[in-house]
Symmetry: C2
Subunit: 277 residues, 2 copies
Amino acid sequence: MRIAYLGPKGSFSHQVAKATFPQGNLYGYATITEVMKAYERKEVAYSIVPVENSIEGSVHETLDYLFHQASIHAVAELVQPIKQQLLATEKGKRIEKIFSHPQALAQGKRYVEQQYPQAQLEVTASTAYAARFVAEHPEQPYAAIAPRSAAKEYGLEIIGQDIQEMPENYTRFWILGESSPNLSLLAHEKKISLALTLPDNLPGALYKALSAFAWRGIDLTKIESRPLKTALGEYFFILDIHAEKEALIDFAIEELTTMGITYKILGNYEVYRIKEQ
Amino acid sequence: MRIAYLGPKGSFSHQVAKATFPQGNLYGYATITEVMKAYERKEVAYSIVPVENSIEGSVHETLDYLFHQASIHAVAELVQPIKQQLLATEKGKRIEKIFSHPQALAQGKRYVEQQYPQAQLEVTASTAYAARFVAEHPEQPYAAIAPRSAAKEYGLEIIGQDIQEMPENYTRFWILGESSPNLSLLAHEKKISLALTLPDNLPGALYKALSAFAWRGIDLTKIESRPLKTALGEYFFILDIHAEKEALIDFAIEELTTMGITYKILGNYEVYRIKEQ
């Protein structure tokens, strides 16, 4: 089975793809949008994309594309722990430059300041690119902040372990596809994600939309506004709902429609936690 | 009066700083966090930071810092139209590489594909950096996507005018300071921005918080969740409120407190629109 993920090899997305589809043929794409388009073009059976990080928040490229352009759905959610490693071609090496994605550099800042106060920080497009770049320049005094799987992928040594500042760091990934995949992981909850567009931008409309869920005792786990891209101050709203009472949710959604609120289902999925690797 | 903005010169922030404080001594800082720290350290009387763009959404670096670390407030809001120009050292020049911030590259993509289909796109940290870099390499076949003010600042020619895809593109900027500055602009509304932390993450709590405003007829113009950075699924909420009925807002906030909801006032400000330059 063909699976698309955000490459290159050794990225957190790649780690999730391997944990979820150990028998799959995995194809890395350069951007999140390309990963989603791979599924739309039927190049793959499933696409895996990041949706939210516990520190950085939502991944707008994913949510905006699903709302504005795509008619594809999340059929499973994977929660991946994020642990950053400092990688180099050999242990004990002099390090003068450290490469990584800006968020990983920020997460490893305290460790780097203590251990390599003289090192220059250099931004790359992703953590896995940084690891690949360091592996390609063994003669240089370079290191990368990247996931453990990037060390294996590019033959690098872990010279600093779990260097991220925040111990609780997780990323939610969605599997986009036709129907729920058959995973050998244990699901621990079921959720539905909706995008609502209100008939006007009165606060009353949002309040009424939330009422439809609240009085039925339906738990929302997240609410977020994103710009409609029409004018400043116009938004659509992303709601994540605990899907324990599906019949009640159907009623609530029907009620929204009669109020003139339009909705798009972004996903209906089981949530799986991936163990640390 | 000393004013801090997000540099370098020629950035949209610089444009806002010049329009707002035409007599001010303007100091450009390298990052949004540095701009806010300049005010905290009393290096400046006011700091100007971007908070939200009509296409990209909230500027998380600004809002997260104000919520998590700062005890400073917005005392005015400026709304700046965002128009992107294609700049080069001379008209009619061969262009092989186009530099800009990723969002500006995305906004100018259609124009570039039509006019310069062979050009390579290169990412820079900001639009103004791109303009400065192009000005520093007049012998190279380079162009930058940047604001009009960057052309003036770095002596570049506008070779493509208003090339952004979305005609309606605005950015909200906040002026952080002790008290409302005396601006020679016309205010057109008054708003209050609050950050709420709910006693637990039950949806009921958010619904009750919104109720306190809704039944008093207080208009919310925006609601957004941001990660508390504690665990996946724990958020704080940013509410923008129309501040017409300030006494009612005081009652609503008092009611929140009795419900165990804690709040932080991020700003209490008049909103000004900056004319296109």
